[in-house]
Symmetry: C2
Amino acid sequence: MRIGCGAARIPRPDPVARGAHAVRGHSVSVVTGKRRSATNPVTIGDIARVAGVSRSTVSRAFSRPEMLSGETVHRVRAAADQLGYVVNHAARALSTGRFGNIAVVVPDIANPFFPPLVRRVQTLADQADYAVFLGDSDEIADREANLTSRLSAQVEGFVLAAPRLDEQRIRELDAQRPVVLVNRDIEGLARVLIDPSGGLDEAVAHLHRLGHRRVVYLSGPRESWSDQQRRAALNRAAERVGIEVAVQELGRPSSTGGRDAVGGILASGATAVIAFDDVVAQGVLAGLALRGIAVPRDISVIGCDDTLASGTNPALTTISAASAAAGEAAAELLLARLADAERPAERVAIATHLVVRETTDAARPAARE
Amino acid sequence: MRIGCGAARIPRPDPVARGAHAVRGHSVSVVTGKRRSATNPVTIGDIARVAGVSRSTVSRAFSRPEMLSGETVHRVRAAADQLGYVVNHAARALSTGRFGNIAVVVPDIANPFFPPLVRRVQTLADQADYAVFLGDSDEIADREANLTSRLSAQVEGFVLAAPRLDEQRIRELDAQRPVVLVNRDIEGLARVLIDPSGGLDEAVAHLHRLGHRRVVYLSGPRESWSDQQRRAALNRAAERVGIEVAVQELGRPSSTGGRDAVGGILASGATAVIAFDDVVAQGVLAGLALRGIAVPRDISVIGCDDTLASGTNPALTTISAASAAAGEAAAELLLARLADAERPAERVAIATHLVVRETTDAARPAARE
DNA sequence: GTGAAAGCGCTAACAC
DNA sequence: GTGTTAGCGCTTTCAC
């Protein structure tokens, strides 16, 4: 048994002994008799002891070094480095309310629209010393609600990308923690909106010029703001030039969904397809290929989001969406808001345009006309 | 001044008055007069007051309801629901050491190999009531180190996917918190390994059968275990059948990297290309198309990971990698470990095979031979 | 410039 | 079965 450790409670025998045994309340094999703290391997108290100062001083050395003598700061920092200290944000948050965490919630991280967005958010957050939680709602509003409420006690703010939640719940969340929306337009909230109308106007004009008079729109999820915008913008543009639009409901955007929609597309008699996104469009391409229907000879296909680059077969004409740019704008909005609570909730709009691929133009006068 | 509140310290006057003042230390514009607690809007103490029980009882009603009378549990839960209570995991962690968080760290979330993996991890974690942090190291070992150390005080464990960190630092991390590796083989650590040899054997046999005798391998990042494995497995298989392999170093896998490699590929005189992953292979396809070189007539291309489905042009022959399956296995390993600390670190292997696309077989006898 | 003490929200020995 | 008390790691008045 060790003797002579005068401290009121012996915090931690020594670096080696530390880290060896179980958690409070559990009787784990006590053979070694060692145990590390519930959370941090090295705490402010450890540093205080080594540096010969109080815990407050150590704390200040990190958060308000200007309050301390340079000498002290240096000594504390040295001790911290030596011990390998890393701040416990959770504990800090308990007293400051600042977690140093934000959350990004998406409907489906496997949908190629979102990874570039998430990546930008993560990068900017990291630069501002925030860590990021990722929530994947699987396109389900209630799961999104669970995620956000679960997370709200650990984050300072949210980026909700294409949220499926109803407006009411989003407003409630925003009342708790600052929220930045991507592709969802709620008055008074910070939001980044990708406006599809520019790209769709061009797409419709393009199709019209090529002789198409009837197109089918393969929709996205009902809850999707983007889908609503695209639908509306398409109808407006089509009406203007005298093109007829038939909508085919698809729900969750997926390649198989697009493939399975081919039957309906052909039955509709349309000569061109505009898909909710590139993933769906790619499925359509695959489905058409299976039936031996040639694109663009027999039918034209246009996607949205420009997520598949020129990788499809044939290379897909699409409408740009700039998801990374949206992620960047969202992160900036949120971080600025966290840095300055008084900042008003801004609204950022991102324009789109038609991207016609060089290799093959998916839009052509339909042979069946 | 309020009198008669016998408690040693007055916790909080009442629900309305609460939230009425500024953040500790900050003098915020008090016009609205509203302000919530540093972290949670409603705490265990609030519930205790409403339900007329002690805070411990409230706590127990959630963590160990079987200790309490059904009546009490019910009353507490009712009060909690009414107030809209959500547990503060950070505070809980401070006393239990259990955060209810895990972290997934990837080199590049925009690389299509990772989203399905991350998604599976997130889904399984969610089911076990864990929230997940996402770290994107941008392929940089030091950033990965920062992320993991930053996060280690808020998570119970890590999934490190294709980590770029050196073995030593990974071991140190694992000593702090359980780590599960994906595509990195470190003895004694839990890991999920996708074994490329099956698929590469098939690919090489396939190419050999078609008459190819010289292939170029477009490598991945040096730090990548997967790349090392693929390189080695390819060399073994090639040697066996008498095919010559030229390696072209590429670093970070990207479509543009693949496209820019085309010059070197052509100069090498090889008749087939095996790329580190599908993204690179797609870039090669694009680069070849730009030069008017036909695949598979003039040269054959095979990818890895099967991340682009049949969306490339022409549809890409590739080697399966099952990133979702890897994510699932990794999550299971980690969650099992968290539920039972005594569990040994397992090693899971995932086999691969060659996926020859229906539309067009990218491997053919080279015309230039 | 630095230390003592209280407290963030929660859990867990230890009474009763 | 339930309340009391102490304490997780950190910050922050308030003294000195």
